[in-house]
């Protein structure tokens, strides 16, 4: 058994996320929105809605709204920053690993679903269920 591997999140490292949680970037909802999607994790009640508008194939405006734990909500804040001004096509290739790297702090296996909810919602807003990477759970 790996006694020394953090099983979850080191609270001292949660600082970075706490900042995003308390002062989320791109919070709100676009109306009208060209694309939007809402989903949640039924087991923990995390909920995220992402809405976005594009201009010439580029993310022009993006907002998220939601409730839940620090990990899910700060991930949405960070992800919306990441993709603003990006080509829609480039979002397709954002991997789960890339999402986790951008959270800076290591996310333990128990919180992966929270960390990846925003990415799933964003991909579903754009392409439906095609590229959300949900199959990797199976």
């Amino acid at each position: 058994m790996e006694e020394n591997k953090p099983l979850d999140i080191d609270p001292l490292m949660m600082e970075f996320l706490l900042d995003h949680y308390k002062h989320p970037h791109n919070y709100g909802e676009l109306e009208p929105a060209e694309m939007s999607y809402e989903d949640g994790n039924p087991s923990c009640g995390d909920q995220i809605k992402i809405s976005l508008n594009t201009k010439n194939g580029i993310v022009d405006e993006i907002k998220f709204k939601g409730k839940g734990c620090i990990v899910s909500q700060s991930a949405a804040s960070i992800l919306t920053d990441m993709v603003k001004g990006k080509k829609i096509e480039d979002i397709k290739t954002i991997s789960r690993e890339e999402m986790l790297e951008n959270l800076i702090i290591p996310i333990g296996p128990m919180r992966l679903k929270c960390a990846l909810l925003a990415l799933k919602v964003l991909k579903r807003a754009i392409w439906g269920k095609q590229f959300d990477g949900d199959d990797e759970d199976e």
């Binding site: 099983l7 609270p11 087991s43 923990c44 333990g108 919180r111």
Partner: protein
């Protein structure tokens, strides 16, 4: 004279029986407070199963060789130990299943489909675990019975006045959880039994949370069904039991069918084996039955009454402390009897975040809806932390929980 209370020195000795309690998490001593989900196992239970596997392992029933004889004896003996532990009249009233969930499914399926019709009603409480709700809702969709729920009052106790109104001559079964896995409330099952009996309804008690802590005698209680899981009472996973009155089991059709549950099979049909084996199709969890029997011996050795008394003291101690912690919102524990089981939240903090924080200090609690969404909805709680204590937990561990909750509050709510 034997003390009715477990002393600190006894607890210290008891803790040595549980190897996992020595484990360090992130360099911190493990504090295990998730006992309502599953309990830890003493060495005697662990070793009883490995000894059985080393010496007597063989499939039970029907073989002539000595190993099978020993395994059969051990398996049947486990039924007898359970029967005695809960005051059943005979081991034939004890059906081994995988867990309390399977036992509840068995009742809904076998009793429900044979004895209930569309004009009948099943009354449950809003406190039920999903496992005593979903099988009845499926039965409702299949045969058209009505399922009604007794709600809780503001103080977290069942609304017995409402129960009296809901239970009518159309009620054919009253199913209640003896102790809530969310609020820790111990329901007044004598009062509920009387209500059920007054209309000739069958009375089902879900003892998954209560049997590990509270002395039960099903014959005195006069319930028709009682279910529990071994793993919540220092036994192994994969085994639990259904108690039912013999005359009911005789009448009920088999749930799962196949090997070992038949007397005779021809291409035209089959007749059923004697009780309880009529309900135990296929190779059962006989190794785990050995462990379950050992778990009961372990609890009996300490005495359930003493476990209950110790936990009552612990519950009062924790409750008094929680009341002084203004940043904590806790649920229930206002009126009546309770297990040392607490659902609560740090105000303004998602329970998953709080649980992560506690985990990094080696404290294991649960967070979520605790498989009781109807109750959570009724109480208007989305999610909560749950700390559930058992007899091997100490005041010191509770203290450590409190101080870590304070740290968590400072961290998240600054």
């Amino acid at each position: 004279m034997e003390q009715l209370q477990l002393s600190q020195s006894e607890i210290e000795k008891i803790r040595e029986d549980f190897p996992i309690l020595n484990r360090k998490i992130n360099d911190k001593q493990l504090i295990y407070l998730d006992n309502a989900a599953t309990t830890q196992k003493p060495l005697s239970v662990i070793e009883s199963m490995s000894e059985f596997l080393k010496k007597s392992n063989a499939n039970i029933h029907r073989a002539i060789h000595i190993l099978s004889y020993e395994a059969t004896l051990a398996y049947e003996n486990a039924h007898k130990i359970v029967a005695k532990f809960i005051g059943a009249k005979s081991f034939r009233e004890i059906v081994f299943v995988r867990n309390a969930t399977e036992a509840l499914n068995l009742i809904a399926h076998s009793f429900g489909e044979r004895f209930l019709t569309s004009s009948d009603e099943v009354v449950l409480t809003i406190m039920e675990h999903h496992s005593n709700i979903v099988p009845w809702l499926i039965l409702r969709d299949k045969i058209g019975i009505k399922v009604k729920f007794i709600k809780t009052k503001e103080d977290g106790t069942l609304d017995y006045d409402e129960a009296e109104k809901l239970i009518t001559k159309r009620t054919k079964l009253l199913g209640v959880i003896q102790a809530s896995n969310v609020l820790g409330t111990v329901n007044n099952i004598l009062r509920l039994r009387d209500l059920a009996k007054s209309v000739n309804a069958k009375f089902l008690v879900d003892g998954a949370q209560s049997l590990p802590h509270i002395p039960i005698n099903v014959s005195d209680l006069g319930c028709d069904f009682f279910v529990a899981s071994a793993h919540k009472m220092v036994g192994p996973t994969g085994i639990g039991f259904l108690y039912a009155k013999r005359e009911l089991l005789e009448e009920m059709p088999p749930f799962l069918t196949g090997g070992d549950m038949i007397r005779e099979v021809t291409v035209d049909g089959a007749t059923w084996n004697e009780l309880p084996f009529k309900f135990e199709a296929g190779t059962p969890a006989f190794t785990e039955a050995v462990g379950f029997a050992e778990a009961i011996k372990y609890l009996q050795n300490i005495k359930i009454e003493r476990i209950l008394n110790y936990e009552k003291t612990l519950e009062k101690y924790i409750l008094e402390k929680l009341k002084t912690m203004s940043f904590i919102e806790f649920y229930g524990h206002q009126k009546g009897e309770h297990l040392a089981l607490f659902s609560f939240n740090i105000k303004g903090v998602h329970p998953h975040d709080a649980a992560s924080f506690l985990n990094s200090f080696g404290i294991a609690v649960r967070s979520g809806n605790h498989c009781a969404q109807p109750l959570m909805n009724h109480l208007k709680i989305e999610n909560a932390l749950r700390a559930s204590f058992y007899f091997y937990n100490t005041n010191n561990e509770a203290e450590k929980l409190f101080s870590t909750l304070e740290e968590a509050n400072k961290f998240f709510n600054r």
